[in-house]
């Protein structure tokens, strides 16, 4: 499905989380296109491949990610990226996701440790984010959001919500939570500017 011919502004939101946490599911539930997959290359050393000549030797590796798309209006298109949380991916953060509006950290309560690293890296990169807990059917533990906030050592001002990544309304709510958070932050900045 092509974009409107008047489309002129692309925006980015990144969904970060460990393997199997439901990033692609969340992208799919809100995207107007079937999620697509693409790759970027980097050197083993971690420095980005600015230099394609580096591709001639075998010291390169690839980082794959999914993405989907939401046309917000005739002019503005929001791209959603599902990004793997593993270490090597973060070397590519600035190259791929500079200028991103913000991020969603998608959490699986059975593998909470996966999220610590993502939160740490987002703070390091100065990317604003919210945290969404993907409640799987088999999530028998049912930790409360307060318990999860404590476990993640998450500051009070970072929004934390439940979601079911399979449901469009739930995925939509996660995105609205993020953008509303960003909006409030921007208003506060503009008030004091």
């Amino acid at each position: 499905m092509p974009l409107a011919d008047a489309a002129e502004t692309g925006l980015k939101i990144v969904i970060v989380g460990g393997f199997g946490v439901g990033k692609t599911t969340l992208v799919r539930s809100v995207s107007e296109i079937r999620p697509l997959n693409t790759e970027e290359v980097m050197t083993q050393a971690g420095a980005g491949v600015d230099d394609v000549a580096g591709l001639r030797n075998k010291s390169t590796t690839t980082v794959a990610f999914d993405f989907g798309r939401i046309s917000l209006n005739e002019q503005t298109v929001l791209y959603l990226f599902g990004a793997p949380g593993q270490e090597r991916f973060w070397f590519l953060w600035d190259r791929l996701f500079s200028g991103t509006l913000g991020a969603v950290v998608l959490v699986d309560t059975r593998r909470m440790a996966d999220s610590w690293y993502a939160i740490d890296r987002l703070e390091y990169h100065g990317t604003p984010f919210v945290v969404a807990v993907n409640r799987f059917d088999e999530d028998g533990s049912r930790f409360s959001l307060d318990e999860i906030r404590q476990a993640l050592d998450l500051p009070e001002d970072v929004p934390l919500v439940d979601c079911d990544a399979r449901l469009r309304d739930s995925g939509k709510n996660v995105l609205i939570t993020l953008v509303d958070h960003l909006y409030q932050q921007a208003l506060a900045r503009e008030m004091t500017a």
């Binding site: 489309a7 692309g10 997959n37 693409t38 000549a53 999914d66």
Partner: protein
């Protein structure tokens, strides 16, 4: 399931696709820069260039082009640099998020919020 692009991983092919150049005129191209064709493909044009011109009859983001061509982002930016330099495509760059210039950032975010709520 994640589709594994078949062509990625052969460094020689990537090198060939870019004509051996190591660095593209990729300045200013973002993952979500929207690309629009300004002409039709012509005879003898490199197949990747042909495909890009076909795809971009409607605005198409750099990352969508990369997914379609099954090539890494870096390589696609080099190909797009060629077409930009020769005026065969134009690029609609994303508004910078921090240095917004005229419109305040809150106005952009409000627009996004409205769009999401209307979904």
């Amino acid at each position: 399931m994640i589709r594994k692009p078949v062509d990625i991983g052969d460094p020689h092919r990537l090198y060939t696709v870019t004509g051996g150049r190591s660095r593209g005129e990729e300045a200013g191209l973002d993952l979500v820069t929207l690309i629009v064709s300004e002409c039709r493909p012509t005879e003898g044009m490199q197949s990747e260039h042909v495909r890009i011109l076909e795809l971009c009859g409607h605005p198409t983001a750099v990352v969508e082009i990369a997914a379609d061509l099954r090539l890494p982002i870096t390589v696609v930016k080099i190909l797009l640099g060629d077409l930009l330099a020769s005026g065969r495509i134009t690029a609609r760059n994303p508004r910078p998020s921090a240095a917004h210039g005229d419109a305040p950032e809150s106005a952009l975010l409000k627009e996004v919020l409205i769009g999401l709520r209307n979904l």
